[in-house]
């Protein structure tokens, strides 16, 4: 063999060996206790929230001798990855979700009915003690597919300093939606060009308002969608009227200056909004980023003839894929975090995330009560939890489509492209058409 050929051969062999070495390089074992059974946990939190999740996972692992949870944060396209993982036969053992996926995945038998993992006593206890909204969020066709590890409801945050500046008593909050609307207009400030410089109050989204008007998008008793109802129409009309007074484009322009509007840069902290409708987690964030800001929190007041303590709600819920390898370990972890096993222990986890609890058993623990004393405004949110008027998204397989359609027609009505009557009619037509198409093709509605 010529020297050139030998060199070429050696170089090729070296290249081949290097490629093989890279491919064969052992993947580091993510487990600290290899003798335990692994529980693969996927979640969608990132940043400061991921730190909270990691703390809870560490607590679980420290408490265990049998299982070890290995968590993986998937902030983007987690549902898509879950579907592909399941289709490929490699799903996680447990996943924390909050997207509109539960009914679809339950219908496709991708996830396990969790009552099948409970003892009869646990199942009875859950049904009897969990808050009504908690039960509704996780149920599909009579089975429990998701256990919440943190509920969320929205309420009105308002700045006491701006109330005082306007000559108002911050302890007195409008008793009705109509009065709130009026007050919001008084508190809104505009410059000489008519541009908003401070937003007094902006109506809550349609999904949130409809239950307060005695409506909502699902009849939980008769298990059917309720889109075009007089109550939902009134809610949309109220919302459109509120936006008209402020000016649609005026609000868009003003809100475009909010940036990410999260954490420390929440526009409410910056003073750009006086009364702001937002989620429960903001309470913890206020404590973190603006501990000295004097603010109050109240449930959204009902309209005349409406329903109190009403609105849309949702939660972070745990699911177990049908193809999970360690279902028993997954269930242990769910019980640990949710407080189904030890409410006293789990209460601390809820306070770390500023999440609303699963049941009064968690809410009444000393740790959770101490949290409420630390953040007194949180009590208003916890007091909303027993309300039967809090409505989770409709439990139908086309949940995502319906949710998107509601937002789409709300937007068209707010812009004035459709009247509220036209918008609600178009919403009903659109959704019914899609459901009919799906049924015709053989999908579950």
């Amino acid at each position: 063999m010529a020297p050139k050929s030998i060199i070429r051969f050696v170089l090729m062999a070296l290249l081949g060996c290097s490629v093989l070495a890279i491919l064969a390089w052992p993947v580091p074992n993510p487990m600290k206790h290899p003798e335990r059974k692994q529980v693969r946990f996927w979640h969608m939190w990132s940043g400061e929230w991921k730190d909270v999740v990691d703390k809870i996972v560490k607590r679980f692992n420290d408490s265990q001798t049998e299982y070890e949870v290995v968590s993986l944060s998937i902030p983007d396209s987690a549902s898509t990855k879950f579907i592909l993982g399941t289709a490929g036969g490699n799903p996680p053992d447990v996943m924390a979700q909050w997207e509109a996926v539960l009914p679809t995945w339950a219908e496709n038998k991708m996830i396990v009915p969790l009552e099948s993992l409970m003892t009869p006593a646990e199942w009875k206890n859950f049904k009897e003690t969990a808050y009504p909204a908690v039960r509704k969020v996780g149920m599909y066709k009579g089975h429990l597919y998701g256990v919440t590890i943190g509920m969320n409801v929205s309420a009105c945050y308002y700045r006491a300093d701006q109330f005082r500046d306007a000559g108002l008593d911050p302890e007195v909050f409008p008793p009705g939606l109509e009065e709130l609307d009026e007050l919001g207009m008084k508190l809104t400030k505009k410059d000489k060009d008519g541009s908003i410089t401070r937003l007094g109050y902006l109506s809550a989204p349609w999904k949130m308002l409809a239950p307060a008007f005695g409506g909502g998008f699902y009849d939980w008793k008769n298990e059917k969608l309720t889109l075009n109802t007089p109550q939902n129409l009134r809610a949309l009309q109220y919302m459109v009227a509120n936006r008209k007074k402020l000016g649609y484009e005026n609000v868009v322009r003003f809100q475009s200056g909010f940036g990410s509007d999260s954490g420390a840069v929440w526009s409410f902290i910056g003073g750009a909004q006086t009364i702001c409708f937002d989620g429960a987690w903001r309470v913890t964030q206020m404590g973190q980023y603006a501990p000295k800001l004097d603010y109050r929190l109240r449930p959204m007041p009902p309209p005349k003839g409406g329903v109190p303590l009403a609105g849309a709600t949702n939660g972070n819920f745990m699911i177990v894929p049908s193809g999970a390898r360690n279902i028993a370990g997954a269930w242990e972890f769910i019980k640990f975090w949710s407080g189904l096993s030890h409410p006293e222990r789990a209460a601390e986890f809820y306070t770390w995330g500023g999440w609303l609890p699963l049941s009064p058993a968690v809410a009444n623990t000393p740790i959770y009560q101490a949290y409420i004393r630390k953040y007194p405004q949180f009590k208003f949110l916890v007091d909303m939890m027993p309300s039967e008027n809090l409505q989770p998204p409709p439990p139908i397989p086309a949940q995502q489509y319906v949710s998107d359609a509601i937002e789409k027609y709300q937007d068209l009505a707010l812009r004035g492209s459709l009247s509220p009557e036209q918008a609600i009619g178009a919403l009903e037509k659109d959704v019914n058409h899609e459901l009919a198409r799906r049924m015709e093709l053989g999908y579950a509605g």
């Binding site: 579907i83 489509y401 937007d411 068209l412 198409r437």
Partner: protein, 288 residues
């Protein structure tokens, strides 16, 4: 024979990848377009139901096709003209021209997501650069991405930002034009405009044709920028075809419907491209 085998062995990784990840799914999607399929359950044959529903019952399908065609009709010619103009400028021998070329080329290598985020800021109605400039002249700029009248044109404007890539191709084309043609034209007394009309542009037509075809295919696949900047809104004014297809596939789990959409898109692009190829005999000049 042995020589051929070695050749095939070298291209085997690509061939395997191509058949497994391109040709396989390509053929499979034909079948899937005639089925009800959500990835998790086996596909069920539904005949032409997906196609029928798309063409006769789905207004968003037609809307998204219309938005995409509108974008292609406006943005592709506009970017071709702008890139050719820029290439002509970058072809002038002045001091520091290489620096100018680099500056104009740079935006095209910025990742699409980063560019989109920059434009999200530039087009902010309250704090954005564009409205800031307009305000200094006494004009109140619109809410670019939130106004149904302006959102699509904002995306067209953004497309102009990335013309550096095609500019480089045109520049290479310009450099390829033999100088003797210009010398001969000068001897014949042709002025700059005539040289441009009679030599530069005709000689550049193969490159223009290439960029036109690629631009149209790219416009029909327009996705990322719309997903980041507008998510199809406002009022479906930027509901691009690929965005709607993606939603149908991954948001609503309707892979059969999305496959049918993909095949309709394929046919539309194939027809337009074939049409363009048919016209090239009339206006594309190959060879010096």
């Amino acid at each position: 024979m042995r020589k051929n085998l070695v050749g095939y062995a070298f291209i085997a990784p690509w061939l395997i990848g191509f058949f497994l990840f391109v040709a396989g799914p390509f053929v499979a999607s034909v079948y899937l377009s005639f089925t009800r399929y959500d990835i998790l359950s086996p596909p069920v044959w539904v005949g032409f139901a997906n196609y029928k529903s798309l063409i006769t019952e789905d207004p968003i399908f037609w809307k998204s096709l219309g938005v995409t065609v509108k974008y292609a009709i406006v943005s592709v010619p506009l970017t071709v003209v702008a890139a050719v103009a820029l290439a002509l400028l970058m072809n002038i021998n002045v001091k520091g021209i290489t620096i100018y070329r680099t500056i104009f080329y740079l935006p095209s290598i910025v990742p699409t997501v980063a560019t989109s985020m920059i434009f999200l800021s530039i087009l902010n109605p309250q704090l954005g650069l564009v409205n800031g400039i307009l305000k200094s002249t006494g004009v109140i700029g619109p809410a670019w991405l939130s106004d149904a009248k302006w959102a699509l044109w904002s995306l067209v404007f953004m497309a102009m930002w990335g013309i550096g890539g095609s500019m480089i191709i045109y520049l290479a084309g310009l450099k390829d034009i033999p100088t003797y043609l210009y010398e001969a034209a000068l001897l014949d007394g042709a002025n700059a405009l005539t040289r441009m009309r009679r030599i530069t542009l005709p000689m550049l037509t193969p490159v223009i044709f290439f960029n036109l075809v690629m631009g149209i295919i790219g416009a029909f696949q327009y996705f990322t920028q719309a997903l980041i900047l507008t998510k199809g809104g406002p009022e479906d004014s930027t509901r691009f075809y690929a965005l709607y297809l993606f939603d149908r596939a991954w948001k609503y789990g309707d892979m059969g419907y999305a496959s049918a959409m993909a095949w309709i898109l394929f046919v539309v692009v194939a027809v337009i491209t074939t049409g363009l190829f048919k016209t090239q005999k009339k206006w594309v000049h190959y060879g010096a």
